[in-house]
Amino acid sequence: MYVAVKGGEAAILATHDLVAEARRGDLAVPEITVAQIREQQALACARVMNEGSLYDQDLAALALKQSQGDVIEAAFLMRAYRTTLPRFGSSEPLDTAQMAIRRRVSATYKDLPGGQVLGPTYDYTHRLFDFALMETEPQRAPSPPAGEGWGEGSRDASDMSSKTGANVSDLRDPSSAPSGHLLPQGEKDRAPLDTTMPRVPDILGAEGLMEAEEPPEGDPRPFDLTRDPVSFPADRDVRLQSMARGDEGFLLGLGYSVQRGFGGTHPFVGEVRVGEVAVEFVPEELGFAVDLGDVTLTECQMVNQFQGSKDVPPQFTRGYGLVFGHSERKAMSMSLVDRALKARDFGEATNYPAQQDEFVLYHADNVEAAGFVEHLKLPHYVDFQGELELIRRIRREREERLAQEQGAKEPDTMPEAAE
C-alpha cells in the first residue's frame, strides 16, 4: 500500500524553531529586553499601539520583540490579543483641552495663549548620524522613583502643581506617567508652561469661524468597527476609528495625494498637540467617574478652506486626527484624510481616492491587507491547474484552427511552427 508522504506538521513546527533562532540572532550579543524597547523605541511602540488598537506600552514592546521589529506583525499580535479581552464598558469622552502638554505647535498664529511649545521633535534635527550612539553609555545608577526627567528642572512637581492643576498628580506619579521618553534633553532650561492651552479650533470657534463639531442627533453610542460590519456610506465615527487604526504609510500617502491636488483641500495646521490625558470610567455600580490613569495622545486639527452658502456664513472646515503616543505624522495624515472624506457632507465632488470612504476604509487596515496580500503564497495549485488546462487548450485549438485556415488557403506551404 502507498501513502502520500506527509511532512506538514513537522515542517510547521520546525519553522517555529527557526523563527525563534532568527529572532535571537547572534548569541554573543545580549538579548534585548521589553523594557529597553518600551523606553528606547517608544515611537515604534506608539505605532504598534495605534495599528493594534490597544494602548499598552509593555505589550507593544513585547510584540515588537516577538516580531523582530516587524511593525505590522506586532500590530497583528496586539489585535489578536485585544479581541479576546473582556469589555467592561466605554470610558468617558477624553478631554484633550485638559491635556498635560509636552508639545504644542500652531501654524496659524504666530503666538497664542500658551505659546508654541516645541517639546521633543525631530523637526529641527539635521539628519546627520550621531555616531556617538554607536557606543552605549555606561549604565547609570537607576533613576530615583520620581522617574527619568519628570521631576526635574522647570517641570518639577512643585512647579507643575501651581500650573496645571488637576494633572499634577499624574505627572508626579511614576506609575501613571509615561516613562519620560519624549522629554527633550534641554527641557530643564525652559520656562514653565502656561496653565491654559486653548485648542486653536476653539479659538476660531469662539469667533464663529470654525465648523462646529456636534455629536449626531441623540448623541448615540459610537459604532464599534471591531464588533459590527461596516456599511457604506460610513459615518464619521466609523471613518475616524478606521483611520486611527489604519496604516500610517497608507494614510500618509493619501494625505499627501490631497496636498498634491488629488482632492481639493487647502489645509493649515491649526494645532498639533502631544501630551497626557486622563481616562475616566463610570462603573455602573458607582455612578461616578473613576480615574483609570493617563494615556499619551497626539491630536492634530487641520483648518481647511471655508465653506458657506446663502444661508450659512462662510466657515473654516476641520480635519481631525487623534492617535496614541507621540505620532505626529499619523495624526496629521489622518486629519488631512478626515477632511477629504467630508467631501460628500459638504456637497463636494468625490473624484479622488482620499475622498472615497469605501476606498479609504477598506484599504487602510494593514493587518487585513497584509493577510490578504501574503495569502498569495499559500498553495493555489488547484486554481492554477485550471488556468493551465484552459490556456493550453485555447492555444491548441487556435493552432489547429490556424493550421486549417492556412491549409485551406495555401495547400503547398507548411503550417507555422508552434509558438
Binding site: 500500500m1 502507498y2 501513502v3 502520500a4 508522504v5 506527509k6 511532512g7 506538514g8 506538521e9 515542517a11 510547521i12 499598552d56 506600552q57 509593555d58 505589550l59 497583528f76 489585535r79 489578536a80 485585544r82 479581541t83 479576546t84 506609575s175 516613562s179 471591531t226 464588533r227 459590527d228 460590519p229 461596516v230 456599511s231 457604506f232 456610506p233 469605501e358 477598506y362 493587518v367 487585513e368 497584509a370 493577510g371 490578504f372 496580500v373 501574503e374 495569502h375 499559500l378 498553495p379 493555489h380 495549485y381 488547484v382 486554481d383 491547474q385 485550471g386 488556468e387 493551465l388 488546462e389 484552459l390 485555447i394 485549438e397
Partner: protein
C-alpha cells in the same frame, strides 16, 4: 505601568471552547440562520480579529468555531489535500482550542472545512461543508464599490456579469473563468462559490450536505441549504463545461478526479495526480495503480508500505 497577569501556562491561555467567546458565537450563529434562509445572499457579520492571518481562512475558522461541538469529527483540506501546511495549521488550531476529533476520511467527517476544493467522494446528508472565502462578492471584479454591488444584488441586476462572460466568448471563444466560477442560487442570487475549480461547481447543485461560506476579512457569511439549485452561469450556445484531462491520475489511475500537475524534471516531464489526497489514497488502498506509482514511490513522493 500596566501589570499583566500571565496565564498559568504561557503557551496555552485559557480561551473559551473553540476560541471564540459565546457572544461572538451567538452573533455568527444568527448570521448563519439568516444565510440558510436566503440561499446565496451575503449576510454581513461582525467578523472578529483572529490569531490567524486574514486571507488564511479566518472566515471558515469562525464558522467552524461557531458550529463545532463534542459530537463532531472535523476534516480540514486545502487544495483538496489534508496534509497541506495551512490545512495542518487549521486542524491543529481546532485540536488545541476545541479538543476536536479530526479525520481525513471524507465519509467520517461531520464538518469539512475546505479551501479551494470539494472532495471527490460524494457528500452525505448531515455533513457540513465550510468554505474559506477570500472574495465573497462575485461582482467585485466588475464593480469595486460595495455600495453598488449591494444594489445590484438587491434588484437582481446581473446584466453586467452576463456582459463580462460574453466578452470572454467574443475574445477567446469561451468563458475563461476556471475557478470561482459564478453560480445562480435558487434562481435569485448570483454567488461566488469561492475559488474552487469549476470542475467542482456541479457538486454544489442539489448537494445533500449543508454548505456554509465564510469570508473573514470581507465580513460576510452565506450558505446553501441541502438540495438547493446551484446553476453555473452560461449561455445556450456556450454551455458550461468542466475541466478534463487527457490522462488519468498517475498514482491511482482515477479518470474522474481533479488533477494536480507535478513537474518531475527539467526536461518537460509532468505527472498528473489527484488533488484530493484522501480519495487517491483510498483508491490505492483498494488496489488501483496508476502508471507512475512505481516512479513516484522511487522518488519519495509516496511511500510504499506493506498492507
Amino acid at each position: 505601568m500596566t501589570v499583566h497577569q500571565m496565564p498559568a501556562d504561557d503557551t496555552k491561555p485559557a480561551y473559551n471552547y473553540a476560541y471564540l467567546d459565546e457572544q461572538t458565537k451567538r452573533m455568527i450563529r444568527r448570521a448563519l440562520l439568516k444565510a440558510v434562509a436566503v440561499p446565496g445572499y451575503q449576510v454581513p457579520f461582525g467578523s472578529r480579529e483572529m490569531p490567524l492571518a486574514r486571507g488564511w481562512g479566518t472566515g471558515g475558522i469562525q464558522i467552524t468555531a461557531a458550529i463545532i461541538g463534542p459530537a463532531d469529527t472535523l476534516k480540514v483540506i486545502d487544495q483538496g489535500a489534508d496534509d497541506t501546511t495551512n490545512a495542518v495549521s487549521i486542524r491543529r488550531f481546532f485540536e488545541r482550542t476545541a479538543d476536536a476529533r479530526t479525520c481525513e476520511a471524507t465519509d467520517e467527517a461531520t464538518i469539512i472545512q475546505t479551501r479551494h476544493r470539494i472532495p471527490e467522494a460524494p457528500l452525505k446528508s448531515g455533513q457540513v461543508m465550510v468554505y474559506q472565502v477570500p472574495t465573497p462578492e462575485p461582482l467585485r471584479r466588475l464593480e469595486p464599490r460595495e455600495a453598488e454591488t449591494r444594489k445590484m444584488h438587491a434588484w437582481a441586476e446581473y446584466g453586467l456579469m452576463q456582459v463580462k462572460l460574453y466578452e470572454d466568448i467574443a475574445r477567446y471563444g469561451e468563458i475563461t473563468k476556471t475557478y470561482d466560477y459564478p453560480v445562480m442560487v435558487n434562481d435569485r442570487y448570483v454567488m461566488a462559490p469561492s475559488p474552487i475549480p469549476k470542475f467542482d461547481n456541479p457538486k454544489m447543485h442539489m448537494s445533500p450536505a449543508l454548505q456554509l461560506f465564510g469570508a473573514g476579512r470581507e465580513k460576510r457569511i452565506y450558505a446553501l441549504p441541502p438540495y438547493t439549485s446551484v446553476k453555473s452561469l452560461d449561455f445556450e450556445d456556450h454551455p458550461f463545461r468542466i475541466q478534463s484531462w487527457t490522462q488519468p491520475c498517475g498514482l491511482c489511475g482515477a479518470g474522474d478526479s481533479y488533477l494536480d500537475e507535478v513537474v518531475i524534471d527539467d526536461q518537460g516531464g509532468r505527472m498528473f495526480v489527484c488533488s484530493d489526497s484522501h480519495y487517491c489514497e483510498t483508491r490505492r488502498a483498494e488496489g488501483h495503480r496508476g502508471t507512475m506509482l512505481g516512479d513516484a514511490a522511487a522518488s519519495g513522493l509516496v511511500e510504499e508500505t506493506t498492507p
